[in-house]
Amino acid sequence: MIEQQYIDLFTQFRKELDAHSVKGMNLHRDSAFETFRQIGFPSSKQEDYKHSNIVRTFDADLGLNLRNIPIPVNPYDAFKCDVPNLSTYLYFLINDRYYDRFQPSEKLPEGVFAGSLQLFSEKYPDKFAAHYAQIADYSDNGVVAYNTMFAQDGFVIYVPKNVALEKPLQLINILRGGVDLSVNRRILIIAEENARVKLLMCDHTVDNVHFVVTQVTEVFADVSAQVDVYELEENSEKVTRLNNFFSEQKDHSNVQTSCITLHNGYTRNNYRFRLLGEHAEAHAGGLAICDKDQHIDNFAFLDHARPNCMSNELFKTVLNDRATGVFCGKILVEKHAQKTMAYQTNRNLLASETAQMFSKPQLEIYADDVKCSHGLTTGQLDEEALFYMRARGIDKEEARLLLMVAFSRDVVDMIRIESLQERLTNLIDKRFRGKLMRCGNCNVCI
C-alpha cells in the first residue's frame, strides 16, 4: 500500500527527524504516527474525498529534507513576489523551514513574535505547548497526521493581549528542490484577547520538480481578537497542495480567511472553523481560476457550537479546458446555538465544455431559532450581458474577460487589505488574459 514507504521512512529516520527539530514538535510524532498507521491517507472511497483521491498523490518517489540541508540562496534577492510594494512585515519559508537570514526592516510592536516555530518553542515553551497541535485534529485526517509526523519547523505569529498590528505580515512560501519532494509546513497563529493581526501568505514554486505540500494552519482567536489569513497560490502545475486550516474562536472574535488560487496543479483546501464563544464571526472565502488539467477542491466546515454567532462561506471557481473543481460547504449548527446566522454561497463558471464542477452543500441544523442559507450555481457567462457589451463595441473576448473579472469581485472584496485588493484585481485580470508574470527568477514556465 502507498502509505508503507512513509511508515518505513518514519521508523527509519525517526532520530534524524527529532534531531533537526525541537522537543515541542517531536512530542506529537508518535501519536500522529499511530493514527496514520490506522487510517492512512484519505482516498476517494470516503465521501468527503470522493472527487479528490489524495492517496494517489503520494504514490510517488518523494524525498524529505529531514536533515535540513540548506538551500544556498537569499530569497529576497532572488525572488520578487507578484504582490510587490505592499507595506508589510516580510518573512520567508523555504519549503518548510523558516529563513532566518533575513529580517523585515521594521521592528514588530513590543511583545509580538513572528518567526520560526522552533525558536518560538524555545522562547515560549508554555505558550507553544498550549497551542501547537492542539486543534489540528488528525483523528480523521491522514494528511494532518502525516504532517504532524514529519513537520520540523514552520511559521508562528504570536500577538499578546491588546496589541493591534497596523501593518499586515507577509509570508512567502517558496518551494525549492532538486528532486521530487514532500514538504510539510506548519503555521501557528495565536491572537490573545483583543489582538489584531493580518497575514498574507503567498505560495510560489521555483523549481520544476514535483512537490507534494501539506500545510497545517492553526489559528487561535481569543476574546475580541481579529485574525485575517489571506493566501495567494501561484504554484506550478507539478505541485500538489494539501492545506488544512483549523480555527477556534472565543467570544466576540472575528476570523477571516480567503484563498485566491491563481495558478496551481492539484489543490485541496480544508477549512475547519469552530465557534466556541458567543457573538463570534467567521468568514471563509475562496476564488480559484483553473485551466488545463488543474484540480481545485475546497472543503469548508463551519461549526457553530455557541449561540449568536455569524458565519459566511463564499467560494467561487472559474474552470477552463479540462479543469475540475469541487466544493463542499458543511455547516453544523449545534443544538444550543440559537440565533445563529450562517450563510453559504458557491458560484462556479464553466468556460469550456470539458470543465467539470462537483458542488454540494451540507447543512446540519439542530437549533431551531437560526438563519441559514445556501446558494449554489454552476453555469456559463451571462449571454445577455455579453451581447450588451458587444452592442457597445466591446469585442467578444474582451467582454468575456470583463465578465470573468467581475465574477471574481466579491471574493476579492472580502480581503481587508485595500492595497492587496487592487493588486489582486490586476493579477486576476492578467491571469484571465494568460499574461500572469512569473516571479523574476523562477524556472518554471507556464
Binding site: 445577455e384 450581458a385 457589451m389 452592442a391
Partner: protein, 250 residues
C-alpha cells in the same frame, strides 16, 4: 439625402419561428423614424436583428448601413461603425463599473477609427460633460453597470451611453416603457439634444405618447413582421385615436 440605413425584404427567425416577414425601410441623414405596432408584431426583433443579437437568424434580405453590408458585421463592429441600440430591458452587470465599461467602449470606437485611446483626464471630462448635458446624476456613473437601477434610471443610462458614443444611427427600443412622465421628459430631451443633421434615429414604440416629445418625420406601422403602413407624424395621431384595428382589419 444621404442614406444611413437601407433594409430590403428582411426575414428573420428566432427559435425556428419566423418573426420578420419581409421588412423594407429606408432611413436618411437627419431623419427621425417611428416604428409602431401592436405587441408581437416584431418591433423588438427588428431592433435585435439590426444590433446583431446572435439569438436571431436572418433568413432572407439585406441591410446596408451607410452603404456597407450590415449583416456581415459582428455586433461590436456595427457599434463601432456607429449603430447604437438603446435596449428595452438593459441588463445589470454587477462587478463591471460604468467607468471601465464606457472607457472600453469609447476606446474601441477610437481604435476602429485609427485614433489613440482617450486619456484619463479627457475621459472623465467627457463623462462629466455628457452627464451635465443630459442633466443626469453623478450617482448613475459611479456604480456597476445598471446595478440596482430603477427602470427609469436604466433608460437614462442608455441615453447617457448614447451621448458618450455619439452614434450615426440610434435605435430606441421601447425607450418609454416603464417610465413615468418626468423620466420620459428627461429621456426625450436627451435624445433631442443628441440629434444632428448627420445622424438619424429610429424610435420603436407602442404608444404615441413618446412621440409628443420626440417628433418623428416618418411613422411606420409594423404588423405581423411587415410594415403595413407608412406616413407622416399624423399617422401616429390617427393610431392614438383609432388604435391599430382599422389598419389590421380594413
Amino acid at each position: 439625402m444621404t442614406s444611413i440605413l437601407k433594409i430590403k425584404n428582411l426575414h428573420a427567425i428566432v427559435e425556428e419561428k419566423e418573426i420578420l416577414k419581409g421588412v423594407n425601410l429606408e432611413v436618411n441623414e437627419g431623419e427621425v423614424h417611428a416604428v409602431m405596432g401592436p405587441n408581437g408584431s416584431g418591433k423588438s426583433t427588428l431592433a435585435s436583428v439590426l444590433a446583431g443579437n446572435p439569438k436571431f437568424e436572418v433568413t432572407r434580405g439585406n441591410i446596408l448601413f451607410r452603404g456597407k453590408d450590415l449583416l456581415e458585421m459582428e455586433p461590436e463592429d456595427r457599434a463601432r461603425e456607429g449603430l447604437f441600440l438603446s435596449f428595452q430591458y438593459p441588463v445589470e452587470i454587477p462587478g463591471v463599473s460604468m467607468v471601465n465599461f464606457m472607457r472600453a467602449a469609447v476606446n474601441e470606437q477610437r481604435k476602429y477609427r485609427g485614433e489613440d485611446p482617450i486619456s484619463a483626464t479627457d475621459f472623465l471630462k467627457l463623462m462629466r460633460d455628457k452627464r451635465e448635458l443630459l442633466g443626469m446624476d453623478s450617482q448613475l456613473v459611479s456604480r456597476s453597470v445598471n446595478e440596482g437601477f430603477s427602470g427609469g434610471e436604466k433608460k437614462k443610462n442608455e441615453i447617457f451611453q448614447m451621448a458618450m458614443l455619439n452614434p450615426q444611427l440610434a435605435i430606441l427600443d421601447e425607450t418609454d416603457s416603464g417610465l413615468d412622465i418626468d423620466a420620459l421628459r428627461v429621456v426625450a430631451a436627451g435624445v433631442n439634444k443628441l440629434q444632428a443633421k448627420e445622424n438619424a434615429t429610429i424610435v420603436i414604440t407602442h404608444y404615441q405618447r413618446l412621440l409628443e416629445y420626440i417628433k418623428p418625420d416618418y411613422v411606420h406601422v409594423l404588423y405581423a413582421g411587415k410594415i403595413v403602413q407608412s406616413g407622416g407624424p399624423d399617422l401616429a395621431l390617427e393610431l392614438e385615436k383609432r388604435g391599430y384595428d382599422w389598419l389590421i382589419n380594413p
